[in-house]
Amino acid sequence: MSGLCLGSMYGLIALGFHMTYVVSKTVNFSQGSSVMLGAVLGYTFAVRLGWPPPIAFAGALVLCALFGLLVERTLVRPFAARGSNAWLMATVAGGIVLDNVVLFTFGKEPRSFPSVLAVKPIEVFGTGVYPLQLLIPAVGIGIAAILAALMRRTRRGKALLAVVQNTDAAKLMGINVARTIAVTYALSTALAGLAGLLIAPLFSVHSDMGTLFGIKAFAVAILGGITSASGVMLAGLLYGVSEAMVTALLGSSYTQIVMFSVVIAALALMPNGLFGRAPVKKV
């Protein structure tokens, strides 16, 4: 159960990696910091300033999206435009800058983010869980489904897919490629921020809370075959559940060793991820 909850967290963050990758062949390595940003802003608005939760959460997500736009405009676009891969290091650096800015403004001490959904555990299959732990997988899977539908059904989604397939052709068809890429960055950081808001009550809010999530989510994105939205989400759930199972069966000393070895093995056997498609090379 707790595996499903964490797994859908990984999935949500990994979806962000997926989106920017398919559209622009770049990823935002500050996704982990965006998770933290969502939680820290949510805490600041809802707990410190006492705003009503819906407004606080919406505010946090909007600011996360703006952070995504900023990352794309300053840390990715200038480098990608030059055909350089320096966006990789630039986004990592951006995440570190954000972590440290938060360390100095928000403070060094971890804080608690209370939630009405994480007070009384309810019993499910013989173990106690908070309602929030059921909500997280529901939200994760729901968002993956909505994203998939949006991509296929709406104009903007089709524009996105066009950019994915052929940037130059999309440009010729009058699609604003730069804006499309910027929008996906905003969406992907908002997803990470949402993940942060959801996990915060189960965890504590502090400046480096997102780092490990970011790393695991990237492993999940690669594992799921970064090109497939449903594959990424599924890989997230799989990863979360296996992680909990390994801990429960073998003991916690082995969790990280087993999990990351499995990731390496899986990639060696299936280089395009569990659910990815090999890119077709056209001559």
Partner: protein
């Protein structure tokens, strides 16, 4: 965390310099001063510990200076930030001794940093006084001439005290361990195993978890399945609270006997209402009925640091109290030696007869066989109630 601290060296150096400058400028007198050095974490997640140590040392120094100082000079504290990084701590210790010519060094919260300073202190014959880090090998370092003394808990003795407490209070028959996955957790794993073996008590299991683990239910479920009747917890504030929250979710109401990790921050807030179930070890608490000395130190703290308003603000009390007593013992030793010569001061530490301190009355606190002034009998068990650390009676 080490990685974290290294991310922004420039800013941290500035801060450290600013902090150091602030401290250095306090006794701006023309006369020569007696310099004593502190190497502790003044920035990063353990910054609160450094602040507590500085407060304890400063209150003691004020008392010494009010009575005419030491060997005719005013005592001055020189602080360096180790950023919880052993390499930086070792460099800072060297700089304090060689450039600032400090007569003695005081150490901070991090065991790895203290361990990095120990060989330098011994080889350059500079008394090194530990006031927080509890790692057993800091004082028991095997040097023929040991210059390392300590007024703090010792892991090995803490582990014995945890086992004793769990047997006396909860009649523990098969305890389980839930330990942070780092060298501190490892050293206590050894200590707890030895303490249990000495009492012929089997353990249900040993589980590790990471600082940033959200969910500790799988580990705890294993301990529960193995029949654990008491849990020994070794971790800092945030990870300790994840253990408590996971226990709440599982609905497993098991006694928790803990090292002093939870004392370092807002444990009540992070762990929720069940925080008070965690019984953890301390060397001192400013709560309850205080001795005359306790009242005096608390009043001095409130006067010197106006931001201290309630008992919840004098945390971590251990840092303040250990540092306060350690400073007075060091001053006694230097006064007795009549000089700042390291070898003479070391012998003078052994010659201290009695000192009526904040934590206890020390009688012959140091000997070449035991350079730790505090022992098993000096530990108290406490818990959090509404943000304040209150003592428990056994």
């Amino acid at each position: 965390m080490l990685v974290h601290l290294n991310r922004f060296p420039a800013v941290r150096h500035l801060l450290a310099a600013a902090a150091a400058a602030a401290f250095v400028s306090i006794p701006a007198v023309a006369q020569e001063t007696m310099k004593l050095g502190l190497v502790a974490a003044m920035s990063g997640q353990s910054a609160k510990s450094g602040e507590a140590i500085v407060r304890g040392l400063s209150i003691a120094i004020d008392e010494v200076n009010a009575k005419g100082g030491l060997l005719g000079k005013k005592v001055e504290l020189v602080v360096r930030d180790d950023e919880s990084n052993p390499a930086k701590g070792a460099v800072a210790a060297r700089e304090l001794v060689q450039r600032e010519k400090v007569a003695a060094l005081f150490g901070g919260l991090d065991t790895p940093v203290s361990i990095a300073i120990v060989p330098f202190a011994n080889s350059s014959k500079i008394p090194f006084m530990g006031v927080w880090a509890a790692g057993t090998p800091i004082t028991r370092n095997g040097a023929a001439e040991n210059y390392v003394f300590r007024v703090s808990a010792v892991d090995e003795l803490v582990d014995r005290a945890l086992v004793d407490y769990s047997v006396a209070k909860y009649a523990a028959k098969k305890p389980g361990m839930i330990l942070i996955n780092n060298p501190w957790g490892e050293s206590n794993e050894k200590g707890l195993k030895a303490a249990l073996a000495a009492k012929n008590i089997p353990y249900a299991g040993i589980e590790k978890f990471e600082t940033n683990d959200v969910d500790v239910v799988p580990q705890l479920a294993r301990l529960k399945g193995a029949g654990a009747d008491v849990l020994y917890l070794v971790a800092n504030v945030a990870p300790s609270s994840q253990v408590v929250k996971s226990l709440d979710r599982m609905g497993w109401n098991v006694p928790i006997v803990s090292h002093w990790g939870p004392a370092g921050g807002r444990f009540s807030e992070l762990a929720g209402p069940s925080a008070s179930k965690v019984h953890f070890i301390q060397t001192y608490s400013f709560s309850g009925k205080l001795s005359q000395k306790g009242e005096a130190v608390l009043a001095a703290l409130k006067k010197k640091y106006p931001e201290i308003k309630t008992l919840a603000d004098v945390t971590p009390a251990v840092g303040i109290a250990n540092a306060y007593d350690a400073m007075h013992l060091t001053v006694l030793a230097i006064a007795k030696a009549g000089s700042t010569d390291g070898a003479k001061v070391r012998q003078a530490f052994y010659a201290i007869d009695s000192y009526d301190g904040l934590i206890k009355t020390y009688t012959r606190p140091f000997s070449p066989e035991n350079q730790d002034a505090l022992g098993e009998k000096d530990y108290i068990f406490t818990h959090f109630v509404d943000g304040a650390i209150l003592p428990l009676t056994q």
